[in-house]
Symmetry: C2
Amino acid sequence: MIWLSYVAAFLTTFSFLPQAIKTIKTRDTIDLSLLTYCMFVIGTFTWTLYGLAIHETALFLANIVTTLLAGVILSFKVMDTIKENKKKSHR
Amino acid sequence: MIWLSYVAAFLTTFSFLPQAIKTIKTRDTIDLSLLTYCMFVIGTFTWTLYGLAIHETALFLANIVTTLLAGVILSFKVMDTIKENKKKSHR
């Protein structure tokens, strides 16, 4: 049954690659939830730290990849949110 | 260090709740990646099955919640994609 965990780990680890590519290309983040990406990035980063603390290489590696991918998406969302807030304050 | 895994599990499990609420409210999914949500839902569902197979209740419960939340977002994205494709074929 261990193969099932490899399939699951591969899918959940790399699932944010297409979203990161799409966001970098379009720079449109209006439909993305800021809170979702904040929670997700802090969550996967916490899993990374936990993997490091208990010396679980697979947990550490899978989550550092997801943290980086989701981090790219989050940074675009944050930049967009700041821009939107500036626009609103100038109205 | 086990508390670190509880924090991580809480954050990654419930992170898709704000995105699901946002998507249900706005029904806008253009900035969301279809491939990301396909991979993520299949991935978390595979983790759910793995949790069931190895009798890991926490793994099972965390992933069934995430599968349901991400599944809601995916279903809106799929409906939007079908609508968009119909529009295109009528042009």
